[in-house]
């Protein structure tokens, strides 16, 4: 069940995407949206303003990144369609997000998973073939202080606390899966390119991973596609996430990925609780 809803002073969020230096098309997409139902007390001469606490409603910040696969136009279409479907579904269906009753947390999580499934179904309807375009999708819904995570594929989610960067998603690739169950060694998986094959994808074999992470004031959240992590080491990411506003951190990371080679599309979404 949900921890008590507490509002941080402000959540500063920014997202950026770049095609990189090699690829002609950008197959990555991202979306950031905030859902709120606010009741604002404009003026009063009431002595007791605790009424404000009772009528205040929490905000839900929804952050999504997706990295399409299946050829330039197919991948672009897949990630765009998936993100659009998620956004549409949540905007239509998640009236419950306006009132985060702790007893309904599981229903809320099911809505989030359902949003990802909607994207999956749309892709399947459109292509109706095995091995058609697919996409990764990592989504965080932040209802402070809780971050609800639905993750598919090998894009990543991290949070930074007191200088320590922790990855809260696990890459869903054939390499990771086969190494985990002891079928192959990591060297073999690397050599065979198995880390480049998704074991779970929206539009492919969909096995979403669901979880939660509770954040604290001062934490920074990062969602990114692999165009960042293949070029920028963790310690650099820590340095860039640690200071300045979210937009500056996002710009620094895109610049670093390009400076590191920019061999892939790169997308980052950064949220900082102030």
């Amino acid at each position: 069940m949900l921890a008590e809803v507490q509002a941080p002073a402000r959540v500063d969020i920014a997202g950026l995407s770049h095609p990189g230096k090699v690829r002609a098309a950008n197959e990555d997409h991202f979306a950031i949206m905030t859902m709120r139902k606010s009741v604002e007390l404009v003026a009063t001469n009431l002595q007791d303003t605790t009424v404000l606490d009772r009528i205040r409603r929490p905000e839900a910040h929804i952050l999504v990144v997706a990295d399409g696969v299946g050829g330039a136009s197919g991948g672009q279409l897949a990630s765009g369609l998936a993100v659009r479907s998620v956004v549409e579904y949540l905007a239509e269906a998640i009236g419950c997000a306006q009132d985060f009753d702790v007893d309904h947390e599981q229903t809320f999580l099911e809505h989030l998973s359902r949003a990802v499934e909607r994207g999956h179904e749309r892709l399947r309807e459109m292509f109706q073939v095995q091995g058609g375009p697919a996409t990764t999708l990592t989504m965080v819904t932040l209802v402070w202080p809780r971050a609800y995570v639905v993750h598919v594929g090998d894009s990543r989610g991290y949070y930074l606390r007191h200088g320590r960067l922790r990855q809260f998603t696990r890459d869903q690739t054939m390499g990771d899966y086969l190494v985990d169950i002891g079928a192959v060694t990591s060297q073999h998986a690397e050599k065979a390119g198995l880390y480049n094959v998704l074991s779970s994808a929206v539009g492919g074999d969909l096995v979403p991973s669901v979880g939660v992470v509770d954040l604290a004031e001062g934490d920074a959240l990062l969602l990114c596609t692999d165009g960042l992590t293949k070029h920028v080491p963790d310690e650099e990411i820590v340095r860039m996430l640690s200071s300045g506003p979210a937009k500056a951190a996002a710009e620094s990371m895109i610049d670093a990925a390009l400076a590191g080679g920019g061999t892939d599309n790169v997308t980052v979404v950064v949220a900082k609780a102030e």
Binding site: V102, G182, V213
Partner: protein, 179 residues
């Protein structure tokens, strides 16, 4: 459908994730990954005439410098404590972990899995420690996420307990076998 939130609680590296993976997906991974935050899996089980949707909250383990956030445990209907039978410290911490969990979620049904039963040559938990746990009010089972030993039984026992069903003689026998 009835839904029950079950939290997997223990020190880091005791095999909480492996037990869930074995129970839900019938797979075992020898490679260790520490859980960050909570990973949530679901499994639907039949308990008597009831269909129960178990929501398995695989909570990041306690480390020397980080306790388990109480916020993850709130609202749980049961606690699945996991200790590593090859590491005495993970058993020693169980009473403290139970206090921590009670503070967050109240006095809910619980079970202790003494995990990694396949590593008999490294096993350090003797009859005395197990008796101490049982006399301290824990239901104790030996499990192995690798072989599957005790995994189904432990979740089944806990699912029954969340419904207030008295465990059967067979269930209790399995618990006693951990001694």
């Amino acid at each position: 459908m009835i839904q029950k939130k079950i939290c997997m609680v223990g020190m880091y590296g005791t095999g909480k994730t492996s037990l869930v993976q074995r129970y839900v997906h019938s797979i075992f991974s020898a490679k260790y990954h520490s859980t960050v935050g909570v990973k949530i899996d679901r499994k639907t089980v039949e308990v008597g005439n009831e269909t129960v949707n178990l929501l398995l909250w695989d909570v990041e383990g306690r480390t020397d410098d980080q306790d388990i956030p109480a916020s993850y445990l709130r609202g749980a209907h049961a606690m699945f404590f996991v200790a590593d039978g090859t590491r005495r410290d993970t058993v020693d911490q169980l009473f403290d972990l139970r206090d921590h969990a009670r503070d967050a979620a109240g006095d809910v049904p619980s079970i202790v899995a003494l995990n990694k039963a396949d590593l008999q040559d490294q096993w350090v938990v003797g009859a005395q420690e197990t008796s101490k746990l049982i006399s301290g009010g824990f239901h104790v089972l030996k499990t192995s996420a690798k072989s599957g030993e005790g995994v189904e039984d432990s979740f089944k026992w806990l699912a029954k307990a969340t419904l207030g069903s008295p465990p059967s003689a067979t269930d209790n026998q399995q618990v006693r076998n951990a001694r």
